[in-house]
Symmetry: C2
DNA sequence: CGATAGGCGTACCGTATGGTACGGCTTGAA
DNA sequence: TTCAAGCCGTACCATACGGTACGCCTATCG
């Protein structure tokens, strides 16, 4: 099997796992079911991923990579701070409330090992972006994200509110993510603007 | 079996379930294991709770009741708005980051039916308190929680930030809940103070 | 004080799972 | 063109689960 084919096959298997998680939950996404859905052999799954946890770990890592590559472009844009922060917040919110992310998070919450992996991968892939972002936001010294960790925490809190928990519980509220991000941005700037 | 004994027995069974969830997770908290731990019969469990989901549902509802009765006293206190808000936030944070609440939330996140139940029970038991609280906070018209739903969402976001997700993932960050509540309160008041 | 409701413990059933083993076939490399 | 690596499909194993049945025994109530 050529390397590119192998990558595609691997992706297909992870996609199958994700589909089954969506359709039948953790219980339904058994190694049998995943193999059948992907037209793969159980033995192949075990050869490639070690065991069930390893497969799910691969799923989590793949997702973290895609998050990072989706989010990064939102940072480079040159525009008014509130616009670029809103853009970033919208992207982040779309990601974290999206169906895939919800499934991935459910997975990680159900298993301590996966939880640790997701927490690490997640914080590594999005927090540095946001940190650099907020600290360099300062255009003419009108906004000071200081102390930085509190500023980050406040922004994430204002952005997400209870929405992520609601999504994880399977009771998502309808949200205009762009409007939500704009609101969070406006409030956050109000908190961190250098007072006139 | 006298009624009070029955209630105690029921509580003991739910406690056993909670213990097993803590020690062995969702997979370990099987009906067998719960029955053995509580020195009860499987048949009794099924007679009292219907099935596994029913038992876990009972667990969720019991927890929601205890949350409500824990939180309610924090509302009545008469003091400066920021102090009473801080007290309330601390209590809420302690509850939501506490071991039991984390286990309960994990449970609900793993099962759509339980998720719906927890979402409803949770919102019913804490949101009205917070809503009434924020809207009546107004001492001399210096603070206006308006629009109310946004004010609530902002307060919860500032209070919880990413802490709850981290706890659910099993990577809790050490937090001084009182300090965190104080910070959130201070920021929230800054956002909702009627400007001089 | 006797009877009966109902909890305890154990055994049982069908089913599904994670994980392994093993032919047979495809496919990329020599 | 040959050959071997490795993937597919199926069968297999031990184990555990949710759920039910049943005999024993305690404790409540008439």
């Amino acid at each position: 099997m050529r390397d590119d084919q192998k990558d595609a096959r691997r992706d297909a298997i992870l996609d199958a796992a994700l589909d089954l998680l969506r359709e039948a939950g953790w219980r339904g996404a058994s190694m049998r079911a995943i193999a059948a859905r992907a037209q793969a052999s159980k033995e192949t799954l075990y050869a490639w991923f070690g065991n069930r946890e390893g497969l799910f770990e691969a799923l989590i890592r793949r997702n973290a990579l895609s998050v990072q590559s989706t989010l990064a472009p939102a940072v480079v844009a040159k525009a008014a701070p509130e616009d670029v922060l809103t853009r970033f917040g919208t992207a982040l919110l779309d990601l974290q409330l999206g169906a895939d992310a919800v499934l991935i998070n459910r997975l990680a919450i159900a298993d301590p090992v996966l939880g640790a992996i997701l927490a690490e991968a997640g914080r590594e892939s999005t927090l540095p972006l946001l940190a650099r972002f907020l600290s360099e936001l300062d255009p003419e010294g009108a906004i000071r994200a200081d102390p930085l960790d509190e500023a980050i925490e406040d922004y994430l809190g204002l952005l997400k509110g209870d929405l992520q928990i609601a999504a994880l519980l399977g009771v998502p509220r309808a949200v205009d993510t762009r409007a939500q991000a704009r609101r969070a941005t406006e409030r956050w700037i109000r908190l961190y603007a250098v007072n006139p």
